[in-house]
């Protein structure tokens, strides 16, 4: 009984922890201990985590440097937002459809852009994706000339706020599960091989172009999915929410979380958002101007002290598939 029970509890640890966390938040919200403001912050953190997991696949696992992730997040937000606003009107089925459409549009754009561009290496790829981000931002600013409902540079309103905590949390858990599985499949191993040595990977029978494109498309689709949630969580979608600085946000989360660690990405996304909000309350109104300064100082200090990320590429053992546990450098080791 002992050993079997341990295996069972281990396997059940992640779903149990997720359920417990969900219930805890609901109870805290119902009792008013967690007010609407902090619930908004929590949802923001989870949405950031989903998009950052996408970048984690692209950069953390497959090693393809992207400085334009926010563009795909924005494509998802506008696509899902427009569908929700035009046809959805709060209907859950339409909401799910709009999320899938947002992810699909972002993923498709990633394939079209990625096929030629993913031949570029490291910093050159970074600068090309940065350029793509700026191009998409300009197109968003002017999108009302083609689709008036987007509002162009004045922003888009009118998307129904369907995405409550249950939706956001459920999507996050699902995404973590899917990413976990992918990373420990032949796809994940091929991505890591490409990251570690693209030439050797090619010489060892790995079709590097194909795996890079798949990683890029999937990662950007996750950004699109997160964007769809964002558009249905916040009533106002504006191009400036998807600029270069937003791409930097995703990058910071992935790097501070430790490259090649999806646990690190999720934990850092939540921790980073909460840190910034705590900073806001600690500094108070009088020192609000100092918030950006503090943010910048914390960022630089953390990266100098922990250049390989806060968790140093480790994974939470309960998130690993059975055969990987105990063998990997997990947190318990």
């Amino acid at each position: 009984m002992g050993a079997g029970w341990r295996v069972l509890t281990r396997r059940a640890l992640f779903p149990l922890a997720a359920t417990a966390l969900y219930l805890a938040v609901r109870v805290l919200a119902a009792t008013g201990l967690l007010n609407a403001y902090w619930r908004l912050v929590l949802d923001q953190a989870l949405i950031l985590a989903i998009a950052a997991l996408g970048l984690s696949l692209i950069y953390g696992f497959c090693g393809q440097f992207s400085l334009g992730h926010a563009a795909f997040y924005g494509l998802g937000a506008y696509t899902a937002g427009l569908i929700g606003k035009t046809w959805g009107h709060g209907d859950p089925l339409w909401f799910v459809l709009s999320l899938l459409a947002g992810a699909a549009v972002a993923g498709l754009a990633a394939v079209i852009f990625g096929l030629p561009v993913l031949r570029l290496r490291s910093d050159y790829l970074g600068i090309a994706t940065l350029g793509f981000g700026i191009i998409v931002k300009v197109l968003m600013d002017n999108s009302n000339k083609l689709i008036p409902a987007t509002g162009g540079a004045t922003g888009m309103t009118g998307t129904p706020a369907v995405a409550d905590f249950t939706w956001v949390f459920g999507t996050t858990v699902l995404v973590i599960y899917l990413v976990r599985n992918l990373v420990h499949s032949r796809y994940g191993r091929a991505w890591v091989a490409v990251r570690e040595d693209e030439v050797a990977a090619d010489a060892m029978g790995i079709d590097t172009t194909r795996y890079k494109t798949v990683a890029f498309a999937l990662g950007c689709a996750l950004a699109g999915l997160a964007g769809g949630l964002y558009a249905h969580r916040y009533p106002f979608v504006h191009p400036s929410s998807f600029d270069f600085l937003k791409s930097v946000d995703f990058l910071i989360v992935v790097v501070l979380g430790g490259l090649g660690s999806f646990t690190g990405t999720v934990v850092t996304a939540v921790a980073w958002v909460f840190l910034l909000e705590v900073l806001r309350s600690v500094l108070g109104q009088a020192f609000l101007d100092w918030r950006g300064v503090a943010y910048a100082l914390i960022l630089t200090t953390v990266i100098i002290l922990r250049p390989k990320g806060l968790l140093g590429g480790k994974e939470w053992a309960a998130l690993l598939p059975g055969e990987e546990r105990g063998r990997r450098r997990d947190l318990s080791a």
């Binding site: 561009v117 910093d123 940065l130 270069f244 990266i303």
Partner: protein, 294 residues
Amino acid sequence: MAGVLEQILNGLQLGFVYALIALGYTMVYGIIRLINFAHGDIFMVGAFVGVLGYTVWGLPFPVAVGVAMLVCAVLGVIIERLAYRPLRYAPRIAALISAIGVSLFLEYFCSLNFVFGPNYRVVPRPFEVTSFSVAGVTASNIMVVVTVVVIALLGALQYLLFRTRTGKAMRAVSQDHDAARLMGINVDSVISTTFAVGSALAAAGGVLYAVAYRQIWPFLGIMPGLKAFTAAVLGGIGIVPGAVLGALIMGQVDVLSAAYVSSQFRDAIGFSILILVLLVRPTGLLGSRQPEKV
């Protein structure tokens, strides 16, 4: 026709300013393989210090430019010392994140009320602006000042890089840190010098930009910084003449697309050209196409 020529002259002026920023990007990249995201903000600090110099402090314009260059040279050296040197042997991405942190720090710190404040400021001109025409094409003395200053600085840089021991050491370090160290070169001090020179050039670019376009604020450096970096990549990053070539192209693209296509699509056009060039020549226009060693 004269209108087109005037636009080309405007593009040249902007391209010259971009060149001064792009040089710092390309030199720093050449020597430590870092995209120094804080470089655009050093340009901004240079603009503020220079303008304060000839307005509030009452310095003559050339002296104000010199002071801005000096202040930024010191600032560049301090930044490298504090934020990049501890990460020299860390994964490259760590230094990049640190650079982003420094960039944000400079922007937000300068936005504080007791520093420069968060708002746009209109810049008074340091000298009377006069226009003149040659063969129907109108130009201003500002254009002449920008051209003269930039060409003088490019000449000085060329001299430094190819006629002095310091320049030789810089070129050696950019090829191979370890070999340079074995040859008795103090790599740390060469890197510091590179930051000083690059930052000083950006500061001069900042003052000229302020005088020419007359509006400054703490977030001034972001777009010109990105454009100049793009220019450096376009020309072939790490290559000094490439940075100037790329900057002159970006200047023309900016001005001509704003004038003849749409100012709203200006940035999109510039970056589209960058992406297309990279697809055809992955290491930039003047970059050598060395295949990766197997």
